[in-house]
Symmetry: C2
Subunit: 147 residues, 2 copies
């Protein structure tokens, strides 16, 4: 999916829930979609503040999107920022313990398995956040590595 498509989807979701599509929100959605990876609020603010958008607005918009379930918060052990994932379908976020690269891995039956585990505990399944730590392809064998 292309960035502008993703941005439109975020904005559409906001409108659909009664939030006005202000220029600021557009910019935040656009920045989220552009980022490609797993942005932090600070990164979004950085890429958007040159348009005179305040940090409160960035945090508000992101929080709203999260509450609507269109983006998902995740915090990694490798840094102290909350990161956001535009992909809310159950998947594995692989994090390299050496270079901190994050790789999204979709696996066939992961969602089923997780839903089943919830069901067996008598619970319902709403969302999942799976993080796997290890050495990525590029950091095998090396002790220190590039980002």
């Amino acid at each position: 999916m292309k960035a502008d498509e993703r941005a439109r989807r975020l904005l559409r979701e906001l409108e659909h829930h009664g939030y006005r599509p202000t220029p600021q929100r557009e910019a935040v959605c656009w920045a989220l979609a552009q980022h490609g990876g797993h942005p932090t609020a600070a990164e979004i603010f950085e890429s958007v503040k040159r348009h005179g958008i305040g940090q409160a607005t960035v945090y508000n918009t992101i929080t709203t999107l999260e509450k609507l379930g269109v983006i998902q918060a995740m915090s990694l052990n490798t840094d102290e920022h909350t990161r956001y994932d535009l992909d809310t379908t159950p998947h594995v976020n692989f994090v390299c313990s050496q270079c901190s690269r994050i790789i999204d891995c979709h696996a066939p039956h992961l969602d089923l398995m997780l839903a089943q585990i919830a069901t067996q505990a008598g619970a319902t399944f709403e969302a999942a956040n799976v993080v796997v730590y290890g050495r990525c392809e590029h950091c095998q064998g090396s002790t220190v590595s590039a980002a």
Copy 2:
């Protein structure tokens, strides 16, 4: 496994890595093991400060244990504290989106599946942190609920 057994295991791991088994560290390990659930650093500090143990020591000890891989950090979307899990084997931490109860769910082939996904991405598997959000048994149907 009983609490004192768990506490001894933590302490043993520290000693094994050259850390002195000081009374403060003993107390922290003991408090971690006693807690039973998924303690925060603040909770441990709370239950240990009456012995005159400083908060820096609590944070230091917990961070050390985490680095040794005997406990695992996890942050949930339901509060802003880092929680610690004494169970470092791959399992699902089910979190009720209503009452925030945390339930550990062990599933037969979860570890294999996660390791496989890492392998398929050309990566090694070191640790996993799986969080599933949903409504727990007690919160089905209700909108507001007890803790």
